[in-house]
């Protein structure tokens, strides 16, 4: 069927009415993502947005596109499965720090090394928002919440450095207080052919009184250009306690599907029985 494709606009991407708290950083992430998609000339039906569970993970409900609001921590595997079946779609994964670095940490490290051509936006507010403010994997050391009454004795998870250490081909950090820069970063991430991680510092105005807009405005250090090596990128991240802003590292390398190198036909399943020759060939193995 021929489809008249007008240039996509922001209006095309308007989904359900957001229920986020006024001022929540997640609004900006959504704005940045939608703007990036429009800038790239992509239509909603060419995009799949997959999320887990959390305030952040409601994004696919609020952005019109093919979407899957999955379960807590499993956005990455669902997204990768979708990408494998439909390589022509642009697959974006969104979700929170709890979703991605807490319960989802195992999938995260494997997605990184698998290097499929998808983009992962972690909407990192260093808190469990939807469950009302518990400590998260990225909450600072000594952070106080209902579950760490005397302060968090764990050290925060360093998703950026882990990704760099485990072979990620695109690693960046954006900030909800700077939608323009975020849009550029997300655009670059989507254009990158391979797994791209964008950790977005996205303040929770209701439950996190430490990692606020002001806090980040004060602490963020600009990284104007990607750094030359992974080690250098890790060094810079560590040096600034993770408070960096920009595209940290990019490597060009064939993505997973290119390497698999098969003739993708997963969705075209003929409605009739298989051809005789194939059947006979397989049957011969059992004779």
């Amino acid at each position: 069927m021929s489809v008249e494709l007008k240039k996509p606009t922001l209006k095309d991407y308007k989904g359900d009415q957001p229920t986020w708290c006024p001022g929540c950083g997640h609004f900006s992430v959504m704005a940045g993502l939608q703007r990036a998609l429009v800038n790239l000339g992509l239509h909603p039906h060419e995009v799949i947005i997959v999320s887990g569970i959390g305030c952040s993970s409601k994004l696919p409900e609020y952005t019109r596109a093919y979407g899957f609001h999955t379960i807590h921590g499993r956005a990455l595997p669902v997204a990768q499965g979708a990408k494998l079946a439909a390589p022509e779609m642009h697959v974006i994964v969104t979700g929170g720090d709890g979703d991605g670095y807490g319960i989802g940490a195992g999938h995260f490290v494997h997605a990184v090394r698998r290097n499929m051509d998808i983009t992962y936006l972690v909407m990192d507010n260093s808190i469990y928002g939807l469950t009302k403010g518990q400590t998260s994997p990225t909450s600072p050391h000594n952070f106080v919440s209902k579950t760490t009454v005397k302060g968090n004795k764990e050290y925060p998870m360093d998703g950026l450095s882990i990704a760099l250490a485990n072979g990620a081909t695109f690693v960046a950090q954006a900030f909800s207080g700077d939608v323009k820069r975020m849009t550029e970063i997300i655009e670059a991430a989507i254009k990158h052919k391979g797994f791209s991680l964008v950790n977005v510092l996205s303040p929770c105005v209701t439950y996190n009184k430490v990692n606020t807009y002001d806090f980040y405005r004060e602490h963020l250090v600009d990284v104007p250009e990607p750094l030359p090596t992974r080690e250098e990128a890790i060094r810079v991240v560590k040096e600034h306690g993770g408070h960096v802003h920009g595209i940290l590292y990019v490597e060009k390398r064939p993505d997973f599907q290119t390497l698999l190198g098969i003739d993708w036909k997963m969705r075209d399943i003929a409605a009739g029985p298989m051809d005789e020759a194939t059947i006979r060939e397989i049957e011969a193995e059992f004779m």
Binding site: I53, F68, V78, W264, R267
Partner: protein, 588 residues
């Protein structure tokens, strides 16, 4: 020379010493010779060392049971005889590896000891000792030696003439040894018409092949015994047709990758065994809630927990029927034979897409790993029905900005748009949602969409939801999966030995249970006896939930990791029948 028409044979030895392939060669040779061959392997959860054995039964008719007895036993380690002795049929022959050649009658069997390794070494190939033993097996039943030659030529084609010649020589030596030492014990396995219309195949292979034929093009899974072979078979076959498998990081990824692929439009599956099945519990609910069609294979092994990874059991029924928080529409099917595994697997994909919900396909270790002889597959029995997938034209007609993926319809099944369809844009969700897929907490919509989801599968039916044998009998033996093979043999034995007819009911569709269709075979019977490899009588409990048969039903169970012996079950059935009869007489 006595002519025989069935043979039960076993080879035992240490793991890692080629016991498996020795068994396979003999099995395939007899298969090509025209016999129906059924095999069963016993092995341990370790890689090298430890006793393993391979049982084979060749019959002139189809069967699913590898048999209780052994006519010829190759004992390639010291444990073989003590472990397997109780299976020896009176007059059996045991060929044992030993220091010196010696033939002697033991209590109930003939023991023939040969220095197989030494003889093989003499022949210049110490590895060929198993081939000598195979040759002896062939000679004992007067199998023409050419049968082995043909096999060897094919098997070792790539390894070159020398290897072929040395293997042939080893087989010849086996024949010579029998003629020299055991000539008086030779029998003749009657030649049967050869058929090119049969396959010798395992349940795992049949399941994978059936899925492949049904258009499954994506499998994501994590290795686990006894399910790994399904993934491995697909790994070898899918790329050629533009599909792929992915060995992923864990079983949760196994199911969630498949959900993603299915959402995007592929026919997708995941395969696992109990521990992996438990891990998939949460995502199973997501597949059902988001109405995403996937197929999940649970090739059961002995639990609980890590349990006995290489042993047989049918103890995940409760889990498959009931696990996951909340309530979901689920279809649970359980092929009752290796042949059915092929067709049920193929149908599972149609059911999944037609009803837009996960289908759980149960197997058990015996059904998965045993091989048997089945008719060649009938491609016409594998039509593909992708259900209510809409084309762009169809989707456009609705004229919706957000496509109602969960539209209320008469049959509860909503038109489904695949990603890429320009008029089908929507969000699938694990949260409760309205027709448009967006979250809702409205109690009226909730009730309605819950009913839609739960009721849509009520009419789902396999083409063969169950098999009945002697359905008019007033005592029914009921089983699932590999228990069918046992029950069929038990019924045969009771009929032949005791003149008693018992019915057999082999349920292939466990959920939704076809209650009305099953009623005639369960409700008014004198006795219902389930035959199941688990502790709790899970199948019995499931039947009792639907039929008030509590006072005239019982379960014969076994949960030691091994499949049933026909002898034991037949005995227990007779005891139950006696008890029932005595109770009736006491009442009269």
């Amino acid at each position: 020379m006595e002519t025989i028409r069935t043979l039960e044979w076993k080879v035992g030895g240490q793991q890692g010493e080629g016991i498996d392939s020795t068994g396979e060669i003999f099995a395939r040779t007899l298969f090509r010779y025209g016999y129906y061959v059924t095999t069963y392997k016993q092995f341990m959860s370790r890689i090298k060392g430890g006793h393993t054995n391979y049982k084979l039964r060749a019959t002139p008719y189809p069967t699913q049971h590898a048999g209780d007895f052994v006519d010829i036993l190759l004992a390639l380690d010291d444990e073989t005889i003590p472990i397997n002795r109780h299976e020896l049929r009176p007059g059996a022959i045991v060929i044992q590896e030993g220091k010196e050649t010696a033939i002697r009658e033991e209590d109930g069997y003939l023991l023939a000891v040969f220095p197989l390794k030494a003889i093989a070494t003499e022949l210049g190939n110490p590895l060929a000792k198993n081939m000598i033993a195979l040759g002896m097996s062939g000679a004992l039943v007067s199998l023409p030696v050419e049968e082995f030659y043909a096999f060897i030529e094919k098997q070792f084609e790539k390894k070159g003439e020398k290897v072929i010649a040395s293997n042939k020589a080893a087989v010849d030596k086996g024949y010579a040894l029998v003629r020299e030492h055991l000539a008086d014990r030779m029998k003749r396995l009657e030649p049967l018409p050869r058929s090119t219309e049969r396959l010798y195949i395992s349940g795992n292979e049949a399941t994978a092949f059936g899925s492949f034929m049904a258009g499954c093009r994506f499998l994501s899974a994590y290795p686990i015994t006894p399910a790994s072979e399904i993934m491995e078979w697909m790994a070898a076959h899918l790329p050629a047709v533009g599909g792929t498998i992915l060995q992923v990081e864990d079983e949760i990824a196994g199911i969630t990758f498949a959900v993603g692929a299915a959402y995007a439009g592929a026919r997708a599956m995941t395969s696992t065994s109990g521990p992996g099945m438990s891990l998939k519990t949460e995502a199973l609910g997501m597949a059902a809630m988001s109405e995403t069609p996937i197929v999940i294979v649970d090739s059961q092994r002995a639990g609980p927990s890590t349990g006995l990874p290489t042993k047989h059991e049918q103890s995940d029924l409760f889990h498959m029927l009931f696990a996951t928080h909340g309530e979901i529409p689920r279809i649970v099917v359980y092929p009752s034979s290796i042949e059915d595994a092929f067709y049920v697997a193929a149908e599972a994909f149609n059911l999944a897409e037609r009803y837009q919900t996960p289908v759980i396909l149960a197997l058990d270790l015996v059904l998965s790993m045993n091989r048997t002889t089945i008719p060649r597959i009938d491609a016409k029995r594998v039509p593909i029905d992708r259900g209510k997938i809409v084309t762009p034209e169809e989707a456009k007609k609705y004229g919706e900005f957000i496509f109602k993926r969960y539209r209320f319809t008469e049959d509860g099944i909503s038109p489904r748009a695949l990603p890429g369809n320009p008029y089908g844009v929507h969000t699938a969700s694990s949260n409760e949602h309205g027709e448009d897929g967006y979250i809702t907490e409205d109690p009226v919509i909730r009730t309605k969409i819950m009913q839609k989801r739960m009721e849509k599968v009520k009419t789902a039916r396999l083409s063969r939801p169950f098999y009945v044998q002697d359905g008019e009998a007033d005592v029914m033996l009921v089983g699932v999966g590999s228990a069918r093979g046992v029950i069929e043999e038990v019924a045969r034995r009771l009929r032949e030995d005791d003149g008693v007819t018992v019915g057999g009911l082999f349920i292939q569709q466990l959920k939704p249970l076809p209650v009305e269709e099953l009623r005639p075979y369960l409700a008014g019977k004198r006795m219902i006896i389930t035959v199941e490899n688990n502790y709790s009588g899970q199948l019995l409990q499931w039947l009792r939930q639907h039929f008030p048969i509590h006072d005239r039903s019982t379960a014969i169970t076994q949960y030691d990791g091994n499949p049933f012996r026909v002898t034991r079950v037949a005995g227990e059935v007779k005891e139950v029948l006696d008890r029932v009869r005595r109770a009736q007489e006491a009442h009269a």
